[in-house]
Every structure is written in C-alpha cells, then in structure tokens.
C-alpha cells in the first residue's frame, strides 16, 4: 500500500468529458483521459481496505486494491497482470461499466468520492496495449473443441477462457462482426469499435476462430464439438403493444443504435431503411441506459428536441436510504448524453401512439401513481387520469429485453450471460462467461 494518507489530501478527479458543443458534432468517444501522473495520484487514493467492498461488489472479483497499488507505484505492467487475472477485457469494462466497485468503495461511504476505479482500469489496459505488455500467447492444445454461439461479451469471455485452457474454440455469430451489443448496441461515442477489433484480432492470433453470419438454432447445433456454450443474449426487446404501434416513426432502440454503428462502420442504407432523427422531435420511452444511449445518438443525428419518459418514479438524487452502502444505490443517474440536451420525465404511462398519414405525430401519456402492495412485493400501479400528448416524430422503445426461454439442453450444452439470466450488465456477462468456461472445463475434464 503506497500512500496510506493520500485519500485525505488527494481529491477525486474524473477525467471528464469533452465539451458538449464539441462532442455532439461527432461520434468519437466522449470521455477524456488524465495524464499518467494524475492517474497514479488517483490510484494512490485507494486505502487498501481490510475488507475491499469494491472487490466484493465487482461481479468479476477484480482485485482493485492490488492493481491500484501497482498503478500508484508506476508498475504498469504488474497492474496489467493483476487486472487480467480476473478480467479478460478491461478495455470494455473500463469504458462502459457502471462501476459497482466505485459505489461500494469505502470512500464513497464516508466522502462520496470513491476511487476512480473504472478510469484507472481503462488507463492500465490502454497503457498495456501501448507499451506492448499485452502478449500474443500460444497455448498448448488439449485436443478438445468447443463451439461458442454468440460473440457478445459473454461469448467472448467463454471463448477467451477456454482458449487459455487449451481448447480449440470456434465462435459463431449471426452478425457480420463480433461484439454483440458492444458493437451493435453501445454507441461509438462510448465505446469506439476499434477497441473491439483490436481484441478480436488478438483472440484470433491466439487461436480462436470466428465464423460470422451464422444463425444457429439451439436444437441444431453444429457438429464436431465436445461442448457448446450458448451466449446469444436477449434477442427480443420488450415491445409496447398499444394503439398506433404500427405507425412509421416508432422504433426499437436497437434499430436506431445498431444501424448508426453500422453506418459509422461504413455500411450503406437506403433512405427507407435509415433510422435518422435529423430534424425530428424524439421521444425516448424508457429511462434506462439504453434510453440514454438513444438520446446521445439522436442528438448527434440532429434531432431538434429529445424527451425521455419513465413509468417509475424519479429516483432520489445522491443517496437512497432504501439501498444503503455497500449496495448498488438506486439513485437518479445522469449520463453524458443527458447533459447534451433533453427533458426527462417520470411517472408517465404511454397510452397510445398518435399519427397522421401513417406517420407518428405524438404519444398520449398519462400520469401514474404507485401504491404499496398489501401482499408485499412490487407496488401496484394506478393511472391518475391526467392525460396529455407529447408531440414527436420519432419514438424509441428502450424498455428492456425479454428473458429468453430455452428448451432442455444436452449435458454438453451450457448457457452463459444474458441468455442464461436475462438482460444485465456487460460485467455480469463477462463474469458469467468465465464461470461457464470453468464449468465446461470441469465437465470435459471429468467426462
């Protein structure tokens, strides 16, 4: 532990974002970086807790105190090695993880200024790539083959782990490139796709095979493999089946996000196919992260106004007594996209889409009241009768994804990530992938 008193003298400094007027002109990454001296100083704030709640809260079990210490001391390579003991893709989580670790940081408890774990993580891996600490390893093959269906976070995680263990891994994906939602969900301004390409290239060099454009049914798995990992995520978005759903201008969030990323990757779309908010008033239905991604995207496309509505009440700002430390706090989150210009409203139910000539012109919404459930459990929703129409030319449905159902699986078929447990965070998908990989390994070893 480098400097036991740094937390008392060094304040938390976030690298912050590019200025709004600058960043909304392009799809480049919005987050900035600190110079390495400041970065090391930030790492020095870690108190090396006797009970590191950050490490506990992290689904991957990242050993923050250990790599913070190495980082503080300028031992970048050591930090990189410790980091990758638990995390195969710090370059992803370092950018887009909501950082459960930081919420559980003891400095968050006492000061509201946790260590900048996520940014530090990102710095370590980027420095490692820059300095050439990331090796291309050759692994001794054990002669067994595993097929991974889906090249999203969990699929990549399973593949990377099994490859390390010596399995010959083939990853099948229905899309034209790997990454899943990392590539076709998360906007480029949060995660530049070259970061994914760099990793895929590395995995390929280490022996993982990727096959794209392969739609594979669970009951018709490709032959010739000793085991299979189904990592197909949650393909079905939750729909809003109300009047006017068929109107032109109502889209699923991913239709917008996926296409935008493809456009940026150089693909061409006809005007009819194109989902473009340029010059439009946009309503985002759903107050989560996907909704927020939609906001940033439509702003960059040139939307004239953006409104985001949510059916649940507005969470408290800063601290929520119902979810005390070290739990994940249910509080109001404001993303970089929110700062780029939008109105946010809560406690609104969408009654119907209103259109003219088959084109969306607005959405009728109505206020709701949540009443406590006498049986306990989820509160009961009641409409309050206060109706209004929000004018818009584009409505984006960002209301989450349905948990997929699976038929009974053969012994050598395993599930991982969202496909197993429903939509969740990238970091959980990665953790699930690692767990599945070790289950597959145990299964194949004991066979």
């Amino acid at each position: 532990m480098g400097n036991p008193k740094a937390f008392m003298s060094v304040p938390r400094i976030e690298a912050g974002y590019r200025a709004v007027e600058d960043r909304i002109r392009d799809f480049g990454e919005v987050e900035q970086t600190l110079n390495s001296r400041d970065r090391q100083l930030q790492a020095s704030r870690c108190m090396d807790c006797g009970v590191p709640f950050c490490h506990w809260a992290c689904p991957l079990g990242n050993k923050q105190p250990e790599w913070q210490d190495a980082l503080y001391k300028g031992e970048w390579e050591k930090a990189y090695k410790i980091l990758t003991l638990t995390n195969d893709f710090p370059e992803f989580t370092g950018r887009i993880c909501p950082a459960l670790c930081e919420k559980s940081c003891v400095l968050n408890l006492t000061l509201g200024e946790p260590v900048t774990c996520r940014e530090n993580e990102c710095s370590i891996i980027e420095r490692a790539f820059l300095e050439g600490y990331v090796p291309v390893n050759e692994y001794v093959r054990n002669g067994m083959k595993v097929a991974v269906i889906g090249a999203g976070p969990s699929g990549l995680s399973v593949a990377a782990q099994l490859n390390k263990m010596g399995y010959e891994v083939t990853v099948f994906d229905k899309n034209e490139a790997a990454g899943g939602l990392l590539r076709f969900g998360i906007p480029n301004f949060k995660l530049n796709k070259s970061v994914i390409d760099r990793r895929i290239k590395l995995m390929e060099a280490e022996g993982v095979k990727f096959l794209y454009g392969q739609t594979i049914e669970e009951d018709k798995l490709p032959e010739g493999f000793d085991a299979y990992a189904i990592c197909t995520g949650t393909p079905t978005a939750r729909d809003l089946k109300i009047e006017g759903r068929e109107l032109c201008g109502v889209y699923f969030a991913l239709e917008l996000l996926g296409q935008q990323n493809r456009v940026l990757a150089g693909q061409q779309f006809s005007d009819a196919e194109r989902v473009n908010a340029k010059g439009k008033k946009v309503l985002v239905i759903g107050g989560g992260d996907t909704g927020s991604d939609c906001i940033g995207t439509v702003i960059r496309q040139g939307a004239v106004s953006v409104c985001q509505i949510e059916i649940m009440p507005e969470p408290p700002e800063g601290y929520n007594p119902a979810t005390p430390w070290p739990m994940w706090p249910n509080i109001k989150r404001t993303s970089s996209s929110h700062h780029e210009g939008c109105t946010r409203r809560w406690l609104l139910n969408s009654n119907k889409f209103i259109g003219k000539d088959g084109k969306l012109t607005g959405v009728e919404v109505e206020g709701v009241i949540w009443e406590p459930n006498p049986q306990g459990g989820r509160p009961i929703m009641k409409l309050d009768g206060k109706k209004e129409v929000i004018e818009c030319d584009m409505a984006l449905l960002a209301m989450g994804f349905l948990k997929p159902e699976h038929k009974p699986l053969a012994d050598n078929v395993f599930l991982a990530g969202d496909a197993a447990s429903g939509a969740s965070l990238v970091v959980r998908a990665l953790a699930s992938g690692r767990k599945t990989a070790s289950e597959i390994d145990a299964y194949l070893k004991s066979r």
Binding site: F7, G50, K78, V106, L109
Partner: protein, 1494 residues
Amino acid sequence: MKEYHQQQGLYSSSYEHDACGIGMVANIHGNKSHALVESALTVLENMRHRGAEGADGKTGDGAGILVQIPHEFILLKGIPVPEKGHYGTGLVFMPKDEKKQNAILTTMIEVVEAEGLSLMRVRDVPVNSECLGETARETEPAVKQIFITGVNGDELQGFERKLYVIRKKIENRIADKDCYIVSLSSKSIVYKGMLTSMQLRTYYCDLTDDYFTSSLALVHSRFSTNTFPAWPLAQPFRFLCHNGEINTIRGNRNWMKARESVLNTGLLGNISELRPIIQPDMSDSASLDNALEFFVMSGLSLPHAMALLVPESFNDKNPISEDLKAFYEYHSILMEPWDGPAALLFSDGRYIGGMLDRNGLRPARYLITSRGDMIVASEVGVLDLDPAEIKQKGRLEPGKILLVDTKEGKVFYDGELKEQLAAEHPYKAWLADNRIQLENLKSGRKVENSVDGYAGKLISFGFAQEDIDKTLIPMAVNGSEPVASMGNDTPLAVISDRPQIFFNYFRQQFAQVTNPAIDPIREELVMSLTEYIGCVGNGILTPDESNCKMVRLPHPILNNTQLDILCNIRYKGFYTEKLSMSFEAARGGEGLRDALDDLCRQAAKSVDEGINYIILSDRNIDEGYAAIPSLLAVSAVHHYLIAAGKRVQTALIVESGEIREVMHAALLLGYGASAINPYMTFAVLDDLVKNHVIQEDYKTAEHNYIKAVCKGLYKIMSKMGISTIRSYRGAKIFESIGLGESLLHTYFGTEVSTVGGIGLNEIAADAVRLMEAGRKATSDSLLPNTGLFAYRKDGIQHAWNPETIATLQIATRTGDYKKYKEFVSYVDNKPKPAFLRDLLDFKLAEKPLPIEEVEPEESIVKHFVSAAMSFGAISIEAHEAIALAMNRLGARSNTGEGGEDNARYHSSVDGVSLCSKTKQIASGRFGVTAEYLVNAEEIQIKVAQGAKPGEGGQLPGFKVDKIIAKTRNSIPGISLISPPPHHDIYSIEDLSQLIFDLKNVNPKAAVSVKLVAESGVGTVAAGVAKANADIIVISGAEGGTGASPVSSMRFAGISPEIGLAEAQQTLALNGLRGKVRLQTDGQIKDGRDVILMALLGADEFGFGTLPLIVLGCVMMRKCNTNTCPVGIATQDPELRKRFRGKSDYIVNYFTFLAREVREYLAQMGFRKLDDIIGHTELVELKPTPAGSKLSTLDFHRLLHREQGCALHWDGRPYTAVGSVKDREIIAAAAPAIEHGQEVNLNYEIHNTDRACCTMLSGVIADKYGAEGLSDSTINIYFKGSAGQSFGAFLAKGVNIKLEGETNDYFGKGLSGGRISILPPMRSTYVAEQNMIAGNTGLYGATSGEMYVNGCVGERFAVRNSGAIAVVEGAGDHCCEYMTGGRVVVLGTTGRNFAAGMSGGIAYVWDPARKFDYFCNMDMVELSLIEESSYRKELHELIRKHWLYSGSKLARTMLDDWNHYASEFIQVIPIEYKRVLQEEQLRKLQEKLAEIKAE
C-alpha cells in the same frame, strides 16, 4: 486416599503453578536453639496472606520447614541413634494401608542393605489430623520417619552422597505414587504437608518441642493455582524452596534428560541407576531441586551449582568482571539457564543462603541483627525485633547470591563468592583458545542468494503475495515486524480446506498471572540470543577446556554465507553433515513416516560418527519428492536423539525454504533447532532488490530482515518470561490445535491433544498439494494473493466479510429484526466452518416452551458486556456511544486501559450516564486514580489481551492529544508505553494482593481478571478465583486490537472454546465455579454463538469488534495508522467528523441478540440462560465429511463435564475485604471525612496490615472526587513494619508518616496524598545505606508526594505520571516508563535507570560520576543542572524531603547547597524536553504577540 488425577477433560496437572512466601532464619555462628525454629514458624505465619486456601476454606496449598537434624530431640524420643552426623533420617509419606507400607519398607530395607547400611528404625511421626481441611484429610498420608545407620568413620565423607543414591534407588523401585521420601540426609530434615502456614506447627507437634533445635531454618508457604492433593509438592524440597516459577521448565527437563549420558563425574557410581535425575510428575520447583541436588552430589559446591543453574545476566550492560563473564559463558555452553522469576532459598544443613534470578522479580529482604541472626523473607516485619538490635538491612539483588556458613560463622556476599568461583579455572583462556566466533570467520567463497525455479518453489513452500508485501518487505525495509489491527477472523488451520504449511497448527504460549512477561526492549540487559553449536563432550561436569570447543553464533539466524562457512570449517576440526528433509510424494503419509524414521536414524548415526552439527535441509529435493515440513523433521529428530541419549552431542541446523515469519523461526528453535537458514526468504529479498521493489541493497535488506526476526524472537521469548535463547531452545513454549494425539506423542513429546486432529497422512497430502501447485507455476506467473490479511473473494475465508458487515450495519441502523436474521444466516451458514463452534450444534427440546415463559430480553441482555476499548485507541465519539448504549441496556461498558475523563462520571445524555461501569486497569495504569476506581461497578484487571497476550503496547506521541493526555495523566505529544507485565503482578499471590487493594479502595465493586485462552488457562483461572476475583474473563485469541504485531495476532493464544471449557472444567473440579462469573469473548456474533458458549460454561459474553462495526467500522484494519476513514479508530478531527454511529444502533443489536437467545431458549425448553450454562450434554456434533481434516477432530475433552458441582455463578455477593486497619482509621477520621476538620492519629502497624489507608482513600475519593481534602487534613503516624501496598491510591489531603519500614508496592497508584517513610528512631544503622521500603513503590502514581529516608527496592516509580518522590537509593529499573512527575535519588541506583521514560524529570546525586553506566540512554539525556529553575526545583524537593522525613543527608545537602547541587545529574527524556521547549516557545510567542498588540 482419593485419586484425583484421571484426565478426562482439558485440565492437566502439568499446568499447575504455584507461588508463595519464603523465609529463612539462621544464626550466623551456628548456635542451635529452639527459639530459632519458633522464629521461623512465626515468619511463616506472618506470611499467611501469601499462601492460599482451597474452596473448603481450610485446606492449605502447602507449608513446610527445613531444619538441621535435631539430634537431642531424637535421642529424647528414645531412638538410639549414633553420634551426630553418623546416621541419616528423613520423613516419608506412605499410603495408609499397612500392607502397602510393609511392601514399601521391605523394598527400602533391600536397597539400604545393598548399600551396606541398615534401616535402623521407622518412627511414626505424631501428627494432628484434626486441624486439616477436608481436601487435605482425604489425601493425608501416613507420615513415618526412617533412620539409616551403619556408616563407618572413613565413609562419612561420602555419606550424604550414599543417602542420595539410596533415595534415588528407592524412588526408582517403588511404583506406588503415594510413597514419597520428603528428605533423607544426615544433616537436614524437612517437615511439610498440605497445610496452611498456621497449621504447620499444630500438625507436626515435633516442631514445638523445646528440644527441637536448629541453627538454621527455611520455611515456605505455597499458593497453588489448584487445590488438588499434592502433599509432596509442599516445600521446602531437599535443598531449596522457591518463590516464583521456572518458565523454561519444559526445556530444562528435556535437556537434563538429554544430558544424562554426559553428566557422570564418577562420584555417584553408575548414574544410570539413578535416572531419571528429574523425578517425573513434579512441580517446576521440585525439578530444580532435583537438578541442584544432583549437581551438589556430583561434587559442585552449593553456590557453584546455583550459579550454573540460575546464572545472572552477563551481557555488556552488566557490571561484572571479565573473569566472571567467562565463568558464565563457559557454563552457558554446558547448561541453559533455568529461567525465573525466582527467589530461591537453599541449604544443605551447613550453608544456608538465597538468590534471585537475573530479573529479580520476586522480593527477598534480609536483615542481620547484632546477635548474629540473619532473616531473609519475602517480606519485612515478619518477626518483631527491637529496632536497636538491627545491624543491617538489605535485599537480595537480581542474579546475586547471599550465603551463610553456619560452621565458620561467616556471611559471604555475592562479589566474594563469585570471584572465588571465577578464579577456580582459567575460563577466559579456555574460551579464547577453543570457542570460535562465527562473526569473526571469513570466507572467500561466493554464495548466491537467488534460487533456481524461484516462482515454483515459492508456491511449493506456501508463499503468497501477502507474505512478501505485508511481511517480508516491512521487515526488510524497517527492520521490524509489521503491525496489524482488528484481530484474526480466519479459520483454524485444521478447519480450513486450503493446504496449510505445518507451522500454522501451532500457537505461542505466554505468561499470565503466574509469571511475568519481560519487556525485551526496555529491559534488554537480561536478554540474549547467543547460541553455541557443536558437540558437548562426555564429561561436562569435569572442568576442561575441551568442553567449550564450540562455534558461537550471535543469533540463530544464519545467512547463506554463514551457513556455507559452517559447512566448510573442517580445518578447525568441525564436521558437519547435511540430511535431506524430503519424502516420496506418491507414497503420501506412509512415505512421510518412512522418511522421518530414516532421517532420525541417519541423525543418530551422524552423532556416532562424531559429526559436530547436522544440517537438515530441503534445498535440493529430487523429482518425485516433497519437502517434509521442517518443524516436523526437527522435532522428530530432536526427540529421537533425546531418547537415544545422543542429543547434546550434536546441534541441529535447519536450512528450509518454508521459513519466513518470526513465528516460524521461533517454532523451529522452540522444538530444538540451534540455528536456521531461511534461504527462500533470502531469495525473495534478492529478487526484491534486483527488481528495485525496495530501495535497500541486498546486504541492508538481509540485515534488516534478520534484525526483525531477532526482535521478534525476543518478543516471543519474553512473553513467556524467558530471557535467553539457550533456555528457550527446545522449551516447546507452544501448543498445537488440530494435531492428533498419536502425531504429538510420536514426534513432539506431548501426550495430550485438546481437540485431536490430523496425522501424517493429512500433512503429507498438504505438502504434496503445495508441491504440485508449485510445479505448475511458470517463471512469470504472479504469486497468488490468498487474502489472509485483507478479504478476497477467492481467498481465505473471513468471518467479517462484506455480507456480514453490511447486513449487520443495515439491520441495526434500521432496527429491522428481519434484516438481523439475514445477518445471522450469514454468520451461521458460512460456506465453510471457521471456528470450533461452527462444528457444534445444540439439542432442541421435543416440546418447546412458549416464549412468554422464558426470561425477558431485558434480563438476558444483562449477560452482555462490551469489551475493553480504550479512549485513545478509539475516538471519544465511539467510546461514548458504546458507554451510553450499554448503560441504557443496563449492561456494562468498559473503559479500556486509557482511563476516563472524570467529567463523564457525573454527566449524562437524556438521563443516561456516560460513565463506563467497568473500569479497566492495565499494566500502564493510565488514569488509574482512587476516583477512577470508586466510580466503577466492576474493576477489570487486564492481565492479557486476545490479540497480543503477554505484550505491552505503545501509544505513539502523535496520537496523544490534549484530552487523551488529560485522561491518561500525561502531556500531549509524548509517547505512552504500557509494560508487558503489571509490575505488581509477578505471580498469583501478587494478583491476590492487587485484588485486595482494589477491594479496599472500592468495596462495592466486583473485581474481574481478564485472561487469554491458552492451555493451562483453567488452572490460572482457578488460582484467580482463589485470589478472590469475582469475574474471570477468558478472552479468545481471535479478539480484536488497535495494533498488534502480526505474528502475535495470528499465533498467540487459542480458541475461546478450548480456553473457556478448560476454565469451566477446572473451576468445577476445584469446587470454585459457583463463586465466580465466567465471561468470554472472541468473535461472538449471534444467538447461536451465545448459546454454544453458554453451554461450554460462560455466564457473560463480551463484544468488541462487533459494536464498532455496528457504529460503522468496515474492518479497514488500519487502526494503527490513525487513518480510520469512518472516524472510529482515529483521533484525527477531520476523520472523526465522518463518524456516523449512534448508541441506538448498539441498543438495537443487543436487543435483537437477546431476542434471538430467548427464542433459542424456548426452543431448547429452558426458562433461563443460567439453566443451560455448562451443560455440555446439550451440545451435539455436526456431521463432518468422512476423510476430511475435520473428521479427525475429537471433542470429548472439550465437552467433558464435571458432575455434582455448580456449573454457573450462584449469584452470591462479591467477596469482601475482611477486617482491616482502615475500618478503625475511617471511624477515627470521621470529623475530617464529614466536615474537613484536621485529624491526627497514631497507630502501630505490622506486615499483616496490608493496603493501609487505601479504603480511607476510597471513601474520600467517593465523597470529594479527585479534589480530595485540603492538604494535611488527615495526619496519621504509623510505627512498625507496614504490609504490602502501604498507602496505595492514597487520596489528597491524607498525610501519612511511617516510622519503620514497608514492603512492596508502597504508594502504588498514589492519588494526591503524601507518604513519608523513615527508619525507626532507635535504629543504629545509617539511613541512606539501608533499605526500608520494598519493590515497585509508587507504581502508576498519578499525583502526590513521597519521601523515603532510606533506600528503596527495584522498580521504583515505574509508570509514575505525576507524583514527586525523594529517596536515598534505589534498585534496578528505577523510573521505568515514567511519563511525568519528579523523582530525586540521593544515592546510588541500580541498572537500567529511566528505561522507556518518556516524561517527567529525575535527579540523581552522583558524586562518584558513575551514573551514566546505570542509566538506559535510549530515551533520555543526562546533564548537570544548569538552569536555575531546575536548581530551584531540586532545592525545594530536598527541602521538603528534610521536612517530611527528617533526612540527615538532606540537611547536609541543604547546608552546603552549591557544592551538592553540582553533583547532581538531571535525567530528562528527549521527547519531553522537546515538548517542554515547544511549550515555552509558544508561551513566548504569545507574549510577543501580546506586546505587539499593545
């Protein structure tokens, strides 16, 4: 006779301790008289408070007397003995059964006749059994006296020797345990028994016969921790009686056994017939007597044998001649010291004398009368003597001998005796020619520190990253062991499913109550790590230079170069052999067993071949082999060689990759290794240096590491009270948890395992697992972080983890019982067990009780207390929150050792008092005043603390702010040191005295004694109960702490379950259980824990870490750095602002806990918690997986229950102080106490009047607080010899003057009063040359004055924080740990003056300019008194001394002040001087600012 010693539970007779009062009376001219015997008996009777009684109130622990054979008396009894000295006699204890007696006599006659003598007569010794207590009577033997005659005139020379041989042979032939020969000699005879000191003369009416005469007598009264029948253990033994304890006894006994083969001097014939030299199953004192007797019989003189067995310290800090040092060094090669604390009195019938061990921790005072009588005793005033008759008074000094030859009529003082001994042979030249010093050997060979296959080997030897980061780096950089906080909450080695290195199964033992720990830093002068390796010759008792052909090591840690040199000094005539510690991995336990057998045989063969030392090594292990755990290998070889009689002929050196921590080194040495080489650790250091992880170069890093290990060894040795590594080696001051009995028996020479455990199979399996993990490692793989210190998800399990902490905090904050139950489920359903109780469960009733029938929560909650946590260690906010909560619940909070702001005694929040009900008193005595003590419902004496038993502590200066300084009676900014022992508790009778003192000052309070679980703690607990404690705390080793050396936190003490069960069983066995409340602590978290600990015997339950967590602690484990981010364990005002705890949360917790306990009681079918205490039959064992380590555990000893006796505290009132002089004084002083009128009183005083004026002080403090009465309101004049603790805690306004003398602990805890002590008016001796006050005066004084017109004993003014004192000479360790006040010594001082002194000032009159040698200069500086303010101060002190004590010396000085003032040395602590200067500067600046402003 009743048989007691069947061992079913955890109690073992080998744990027994005793301590006592001793005395001797001799006429220097050898004039025999019955009056002398009378005097000796009176001496004994006047020390009755030093002995003890059993639960029946009548059975004594033992008393006895040794006198010359009363020839005339025997003749008058009609026994036709030949002339004086021509017959041998002695008492014999025999079974009552006459048949058995006859059988024994037949054997005796055979042996006697075989030696050519005859058993002339057997006399029935008349005894008065009526006076005995019940327990003593049940085991009373038949007492016979035998007479052996038939010696020829020319055989007289060897007659004593022959009698010795006869006795040894009889002992060896008679198996009957009830037969014991008390003594057999032609010169002296011993009468003793299980008696109180008052019963001795009644029981043996011989002693009161007018014709029963002697010119010398030794007497002894025993205070044993247990009152089990032990007639033979009463003292004196054949040669000596002993007050104290032999700490190193296990090692001494083993080495004596190992040495038997080389001890023959020819005088005793074939000594193999006399073996064992040390009689088995006896006490430590008895063993020492056996050894002394053997050496004397082998031809050594009495003082020579004593100097050999109990040598004084002879390192650089001791002022003795070079020749004498050589004498000691020569003998130290042959024999390890029998380390005290010991005051020893001895006699062979002609010579009689006494000595103290090197530490001098037991008192012994002597006086010589003008008629030529000499009296030595633990106390003064034990005989009424006319002051005019007294020629000289003094004390035995540490390591010094005093001897009287009654035949020549001469007194020999130490100097003369020792010079004679040193001059007998040219020891200095012998050493110079034969003994090689390792540090002087040089070699040109290059030795590598790196190791091939480094990464893999690290893992194979069980290294983890934390070992390097948190242990080795701090050691290599700072040269000391790292410090950690918050206790150890990880599973026991045997419970963990991770592969363990073998060291992890062991725990250090430590001294508590029965013997004091030593401070190895401040009292370094008695410590030594010097080791000798080589081969001891075959005649070590025959003085010869070949005996010292050895290599001397400055310390037992060898670096690679030194080991290489040792392997290659053939040219000097030293031969060595390396044996590999490895076993065939594939063959598992079987392979390990064979490898150990093989290793032992090879070692024995090496000895036969004349190898000087054997190196056991795991450096080069072949493929397919795994390393034998080094400790197992060493211990196996050590014990094998002892059994084979080949042990002392060689030395064992261990070269092992496993060794990294201090504990590892201590274990290897403790089980017989002479030196160790931790080569993997050196490889780690090499790697750290090469990779620039640390800035040091290799040499410095290695030096620092070795220094840290040496310091750690000192600490581990000293916590058992052991001073030298030579007596530590092989002393096995450890215990194991989780090792099976057969393993311990075969390889560790231990018979009993508390909870059973693993054997060779499991050990081999772990070693192989580690080896295989190592094989897999590649050169660049990271070492795993196992989460030993800081929680890791994939690491070692911690009981305090994110889930338990978070749920507990949320539950108590929100007051949500459901959430609390969630916490409980995390505690109870750990993924894997961690503590012993996790393997236990309890029976539920078939028909549960309705909950309403169970006692209410409010009464259950009274069983809970908060553990001692000092203000200083934790913030005032946290401290007060806990006090408030416990007071609201009607339970008790504990001040901890830091005192308490007296404003809190009378302030409250919402009607709830802020005053802690339990006041702790620890070795530092911080803030312990009369006022503090009277404001307590319970006074807790902290003997040891779970996280670091046997160690002192230090509150660094930067943590001492204004308020802390105030509560601790010190000054902000100066460090406060707590000594390892209480300097008024060196043994059990001292504890009894302290309890007596405390009960005097506050008769309403319960006195509790806090102990830490270790094997033997039950025995200590029984002793504590007999010392009249009301509550006994058995603290688990898992207890938390603000700061503790890492090795102590993890490796000292044992699980509370074992300690508690042993205490419960031993107390019950002694019939003492109903008398005391038994409290326990150590990671207790929920209702299940409480129920299980209650079933094992606890009445009360302590919680320390847990309330802190409730208040917001998140187990940062950073308490020692003052950076606690939640404002609990810090004094930083910024951080304290972050404290968010509330007393309500703690109230919530204890209410929930009580509710949960109540629910369990209902389910179990009991109405009260009391009803299940000690009912181990309700405990069930949880199933364990077959074949696992857990399945090897055996709980039958732990769950043993004594039948037919009380199992819990019976609710009786606290023990009360009987009639004391103070009751009379208080009545007489009523006008002063009630109305503040001046009162003048006169009393006579005796040594049996103890703690005089203490109760009076309590009354004043209760009424008037710290303010007391105005000066000299109560004036009392005493005449005579005051008992111990004279004027303890004396309150302000009381002015006492003693004409006469006083015993130990005078003025302890002085709280504002004034004490003056002066010699009797009619005395003829020179006041300043004689000792009139005992040891440890003024200990922990906080304010007040003391003037002594005479010398005081050792350790005067230890931990004085504010009193002023003037004395005319002092013993060793004066002003130790002093933090305030003034001490003036108008005379010489002993060694180690001002050790650890961080505040206050001392002035020493030093006309001879020798003082600097005697002063410990680590923390102070010396100067002449130049500043006028100091001169003035000194003048005033001496003036007052003259005024109050009438000192002639003071008058002389005042009359020629300029001359004398220049002969004084001022002793001022460097830190204190700085603080004073800063203070002055600040005042100056303030003044300047004022002037400027004007």
